[in-house]
């Protein structure tokens, strides 16, 4: 499946429909400007416009695929978590409760949107946009297969895709801080501050772990990293790195045990306290979106990405691996209580960072020995 090819074909069809409407149908009318509609029609099928609309369609395809996956992931989490808890999870809406998410979304959608009187309006309204937008942007960089990736017209993927993904990943704590500050509530403020504090602890070990992969591959591109794992997944020689990466990724996507900014027991959902209706829905949804992105990155970096036996297409292999990583996330959520702010800093600086350096040394050793 070639993403560029698909979106190009769709846009081509669209262009022809538009051209037909403008020059074919409107051309029949008396035209005071003389060939004006012909001109617009021709402009629509010019290569620049086609490329632009193709790009938009590509983005749409990426987002739709991601959102579908997120809906499935939420269902998977609910079902798996419920089985851990000795219950059944959603059951009534749709087959095996699959449409429970839709019902929840509809419920949030019809709720009134309230802005607190003393909130900072600008910050309050911009924070969800940054949070959701930056999280969607991560997906642009993550390819599901060699073909299913955002490319330019020449067929080249983003050269620094992994760096781009992590850079965009790190924007969210900023929006959380903005949200927590602008809501003018003590709980949200503490939640926002916690998010900033938490970021300091996990970003460095995580990037060091990723650096070990870069060291083995010598490239920042997802495609190169995955192709370098044809013989052996990096998760096997760099098993320590895989564990570290998953731990840091749980902190990055703010799931239990590292969901400090929205600790519901002590901070009453923390930084999302004052958000209601679909804004809150978007936050919840985006957290799973980030979870999906995190699982995708872990799959691409350590679990061989779309590499797998040929009887299934690469995209399916990628998703299967990403889902398995997500189920690991869910198991961890089901088994562990929430950690404390100072403890996550301790953990980040005293445990994860030395281990990440050790992992980097292991990777360097492999590189020196010439195994990769």
């Amino acid at each position: 499946m070639d993403l560029w090819g698909i979106s190009y074909a769709i846009s081509d069809i669209l262009m022809h429909i538009v051209y037909w409407i403008f020059s074919g149908l409107l051309g029949l009318l008396p035209d005071p400007l003389g060939g004006f509609f012909d001109g617009i029609g021709l402009w629509f099928v010019s290569p620049g416009v086609i490329a632009f609309i193709t790009m938009l369609l590509e983005a749409l395809i990426v987002i739709i695929v991601a959102l579908l996956n997120v809906i499935i992931l939420i269902w998977v989490e609910r079902k798996v978590l419920a089985r851990i808890m000795d219950s059944r999870g959603p059951f009534y809406v749709g087959p095996l409760g699959f449409f429970q998410n839709i019902a929840d979304g509809a419920k949030l959608f019809v709720k009134q949107i309230i802005i607190p009187k003393k909130a900072d309006k600008f910050g309050y309204q911009i924070a969800p946009i940054i949070f959701v937008g930056s999280s969607l942007l991560i997906l642009a960089a993550i390819p599901l297969s060699a073909d299913f990736a955002v490319k330019d017209a020449t067929g080249a993927t983003i050269p620094g895709g992994i760096l781009f993904a992590f850079a965009v990943f790190a924007i969210a704590p900023f929006s959380i801080l903005v949200a927590g500050w602008s809501e003018n509530n003590k709980y949200t403020l503490i939640g926002g501050m916690r998010s900033a504090a938490q970021m300091m602890s996990y970003e460095i070990p995580m990037l060091l772990t990723v650096a070990s992969v870069f060291l083995l591959v010598g490239s920042f591109s997802f495609g190169d990293v995955v192709n370098a794992q044809q013989n052996i997944w990096f998760g096997i020689p760099l098993f320590l790195g895989l564990i570290l990466f998953i731990a840091c990724m749980i902190a990055e996507v703010e799931r239990i045990p590292f969901d400090l900014p929205e600790a519901e027991a002590e901070l009453v959902e923390g930084w999302t306290t004052e958000y209601c209706g679909m804004r809150f829905g978007f936050f919840m949804f985006t957290e799973y979106l980030r979870g999906y992105a995190g699982c995708g990155i872990a799959t691409a970096l350590f679990l061989g990405g779309w590499i797998g036996p040929d009887f299934l297409p690469g995209e399916i292999w990628f998703l299967i691996k990403a889902y398995i990583v997500f189920v690991v996330f869910v198991f961890i959520r089901g088994a562990l209580p929430r950690i404390r702010t100072d403890q996550i800093l301790d953990l980040g600086w005293k445990r994860l960072l030395p281990l990440a350096v050790l992992n980097l040394l292991i990777a360097a050793t492999f590189k020196i020995l010439g195994w990769f």
């Binding site: 239990i256 027991a265 088994a335 209580p337």
Partner: protein, 360 residues
């Protein structure tokens, strides 16, 4: 960040009821704390003065939603003391059994709430699942799930239902098996230890000075249990250990409650073995004599006491309820100072707050 006061409550997931914990934080460190209660005040003690002795019975169930039978039993025991009644031997054994069933249910509810406080929803669901079995047993006894009104002045409302011994033994066997699962979930969890060990320290002297009782006191290295020290009903004929831990922190209180649940299982087994046959209730007079009586029991949350003054009519002149948590909450400040905001839930959760009896 400057210091600021935060109201944790009256509606806050941490409170497990309706009270307000005002804490002063410097960043995330607590520098001052002030529990405020009274949001659930229902004027129970005044209502008691205007009801007959029989009518008060169901009301005492409402003192604590977590362990209503203990309070119901305490009331009946106090009235029996005032009236000078001797209740049948079998009724005493049934009461002890029901108290221990109630203690397990109450501790399981605490465990569920504590797990949810710390963000461990699995523990919440598991504990609630196992609590259901004990609620079922108590329902079989009394016909109701939460407010039993099973103890009556002069005995208990009814004899055991058919096959109750069998069901009860099965439940205890099942629960002892499941308790190991619970312990695996918590004891083996590094993060649970990080959240509880060394948190909320309340020294033995301080706990005794503040009047703290129950598992909180026993977690502070004081082996004080009314069931052993002033045995009521038939506790003096029962062989059990008083749980006690030397660490004085949240972990110690957790261990104490888990051990108490095991001991309760032992007690239930013994009551089922030793329970004699016979009547379960005696006729009681309508009027109580003038005079006063004190009943003291070991509630799952601490030392429950009732002081009853009768004036020769069918209504009490005064019925004072001594709530364990009313006193324990006053220790909030000394437990909280110097810890983080995130520790508030761990510390206040560990004393098992129940507002019904605190505000009365």
């Amino acid at each position: 960040m400057a210091e600021m006061w935060i109201n944790m409550g009256p509606q806050h997931p941490m409170t497990h009821g309706l009270w307000n914990l005002r804490i002063k934080v410097d960043g995330e460190v607590i520098t001052d704390a002030m529990p405020e209660i009274g949001y659930l005040h229902r004027g129970m003690e005044k209502i008691f003065e205007n009801k007959t002795y029989v009518q008060i019975g169901p009301l005492t169930d409402r003192l604590c939603y977590g362990s209503s039978f203990t309070w119901n039993h305490l009331y009946c025991m106090t009235v029996e003391k005032l009236m000078g009644l001797e209740i049948p031997e079998r009724a005493k054994w049934i009461r002890v059994m029901a108290i221990e069933l109630q203690r397990i249910a109450s501790h399981l509810m605490w465990l569920a709430a504590y797990a949810a406080d710390l963000g461990l929803l699995t523990g919440f669901v598991w504990a609630m699942r196992d609590r259901e079995i004990f609620l079922d047993l108590l329902q079989a006894l009394s016909g109701s799930r939460l407010t039993y009104n099973y103890a009556r002045i002069g005995g208990v409302a009814a004899d055991l239902p058919p096959d109750f011994e069998r069901d009860c033994l099965r439940a205890v066997d099942y629960f002892e098996r499941k308790l190991k699962e619970h312990e695996n979930l918590y004891n083996g969890s590094k993060i649970f230890k990080m959240r509880t060990v060394g948190i909320g320290i309340l020294k033995r002297e301080e706990a005794i000075n503040l009047g703290v009782t129950g598992p909180t006191l026993r977690g502070s290295n004081a082996k004080i249990d009314i069931r052993k020290d002033q045995p009521y009903e038939v506790y003096d004929e029962i062989d059990f250990e008083v749980a006690c831990h030397t660490d004085c922190d949240c972990w110690a209180r957790y261990i104490v409650r888990m051990t108490e649940m095991k001991e309760s299982c032992k007690i239930i087994r013994q009551t089922l073995q030793k329970m004699p046959k016979g009547p379960v209730r005696v006729k009681t007079p309508m009027l109580a004599p003038s005079g006063d009586a004190i009943g003291v029991v070991e509630d799952p949350r601490g030392e429950g006491m009732m002081y009853l003054i009768g004036d020769g009519t069918d209504r009490p002149y005064r019925l004072k309820v001594r709530s364990p948590l009313f006193v324990t909450l006053s220790a909030a400040k000394s437990m909280l100072l110097g810890y983080k905001v995130a520790d508030v839930v761990a510390i206040m959760g560990s004393i098992d707050v129940c507002m019904g009896e605190t505000d009365r």
